[in-house]
Amino acid sequence: MKAQRKDADERLLVEAAQADPARFADLYEEHFERVYAFIAGRVRNRQEAEDLTSQVFQQALENLRRFEWRGVPFSAWLLRIAANAMADRWQQVSREQGDPPPEPPDEAAAEDIERRTLLYQLVDTLPADQRRVVVARFVEQKSISDIARELGRTQGAVKQLQFRALESLRAQARPRPKQDAPGGRRAHA
């Protein structure tokens, strides 16, 4: 019942955005972390992950009217676009550097995407000071002393915030039921 409700909600969001592209923001908020997690787990660096993520959402917005609702989650359509964008990128790079193509994602990879998606979404729910420490420490890779200076806190206080943030993320992170991944059911776009 819960899954059916989720499908119905998502369908409403998609149809609203198809009628009025300004509503695409809702779909973006819903799926940003999943798309990013899928891409970031498979490319070499942050810049490339950001470029590809931008490309995926821009293409999705442009082609939204071509998405037909046939019971396939919208996320599968997005991840299919992402998989194609990465394949194109690899084709281009491999022509230049002779790199091997990426392995298709397996079930374990799909579960990993869901774990990361949930984790990234949970970071947004942390109290502001904990979230600031997480971003500074892990995204910006700053030292505890630099963060302490920026926040005007002691190093001990920053370590406490880091500890509490990670404890909180652990407590809340429960694997979700597996969702569709590219290579699974095809979206009809």
């Binding site: 009025d20 592209p21 300004a22 695409f24 923001a25 973006y28 908020e29 940003f32 972390e33 990013y36 997690a37 970031a40 787990g41 942050r46 992950a49 950001e50 993520t53 931008s54 959402f57 821009q58 917005l61 774990r115 990361r116 984790l119 990234y120 970071v123 997480v134 971003v135 420490r137 892990f138 995204v139 890779q141 505890i144 001990g156 370590k159 406490q160 880091q162 500890f163 990670l166 404890e167 993320l169 652990r170 992170a173």
Partner: protein, 323 residues
């Protein structure tokens, strides 16, 4: 020795993980799961990336449904933007000399003009006082009029300085040159006989005197898909006069020489996709003056400087704003 706190011990494990390039080194059993989470957080998306992409998508969505044209009403693809010292004087000069109609004036607290717009004939011109960030950049404008001699006289009476008196030129034009109080050169001309004027050339045509005009033309083709419609050049490739069309506008360009010194311009360019045009201009060799961003006056606008000294404000009009 006091026992370190869990927060400190966890940080030591995290420090080791962040310092390792590959998989995280084994941590104390009590922290293994937290370090695993911390490892995954290294790939957490940057909040500003998420925010900026959302803003970009929002803008694209609005553009897709927008009923506004990407060119602001009353404007054309290319509009000269005069940056001068003494913008108010130039405005008054243009009013007296050319019958310019002032459309808008934004005065700064120090009395300088932050931005103003005026219409001459069928064309718009923008103007502002220079400042440290945007120093004065006197420009050259080719002004098409009916009565060259009368306008030339009025320009002198309005405080202009003659560059040359009205003359019948062998290229199919009677023209005279005047420098305004801001240092801009106005070539006041009227077609005569077999003329170089294009049929759709408006009252105001930006005229670029450039060191390296031929190369500048190539840049404009690559950056802004300019279409070359006329070129007079010497056998060794020095461009005397060329006309380019960008969108609905005409641009003139010629090699700087003698009494026509290099006078690159500051230009406002409307395009359907400012982001794409900005990237294309950078790829063609321009340097960024400013990345694209939305402005409260309704333009999504970026700035580049080409290697010939011209500054291009690349804009897509996204909403109509009442001033």
């Amino acid at each position: 020795m006091p026992k370190s706190s869990p927060a400190q011990r966890l940080d030591q494990a995290i420090e080791a993980m962040l310092g390792s390039s590959g998989a995280a080194p084994p941590a104390d059993a009590e922290f293994q799961e937290l370090v695993r989470i911390a490892t995954a957080l290294r790939e957490l998306p940057r909040p500003e990336f998420k925010r900026n992409l959302k803003a970009d998508l929002d803008r694209r969505a609005r553009m897709a449904t927008a009923t506004v044209s990407f060119i602001r009403e009353g404007f054309h693809t290319v509009t000269p933007y005069l940056i001068v010292q003494g913008a108010a004087e130039v405005l008054e000069f243009a009013r007296q000399a050319f019958g310019a109609q002032e459309i808008f004036r934004f005065k700064l607290p120090d009395g300088n003009i932050g931005h103003a717009e005026f219409r001459v004939g069928d064309s718009m011109v923008e103007i502002a006082d220079g400042n440290q960030q945007h120093p004065p950049i006197p420009a050259t404008i080719h002004l098409k009029v009916k009565d060259v001699d009368a306008v030339y006289e009025r320009a002198l009476q309005a405080g202009g300085v003659s560059l040359y008196p009205p003359t019948d030129q062998d290229y199919g034009e009677r023209d005279g040159g005047v420098q305004d109080p801001g240092g801009n050169h106005w070539y006041i001309g009227s077609p005569r006989g077999e003329t170089h004027f294009l049929p759709d050339q408006r009252s105001v045509t930006p005229s670029l005197h450039i060191a390296g005009a031929a190369q500048c033309i190539e840049f404009l083709k690559q950056a802004f898909r300019a279409e070359e419609v006329m070129r007079h050049q010497t056998p060794d490739g020095i461009v005397h006069h060329a006309k380019l069309r960008i969108g609905d506008s005409v641009l003139e360009i010629g090699e700087a020489h003698g009494k026509f010194p290099a006078m690159p311009a500051n230009l406002h360019l409307y395009v359907p996709d400012a982001d794409a045009a900005y990237r294309q201009a950078l790829a063609a060799g321009a340097a960024s003056e400013r990345e694209p961003r939305d402005e409260p006056y309704g333009d999504h606008i970026a700035g580049v400087r080409d290697r010939f000294g011209n500054i291009w404000w690349i804009a897509t009009h996204i909403k109509n704003v009442q001033f």
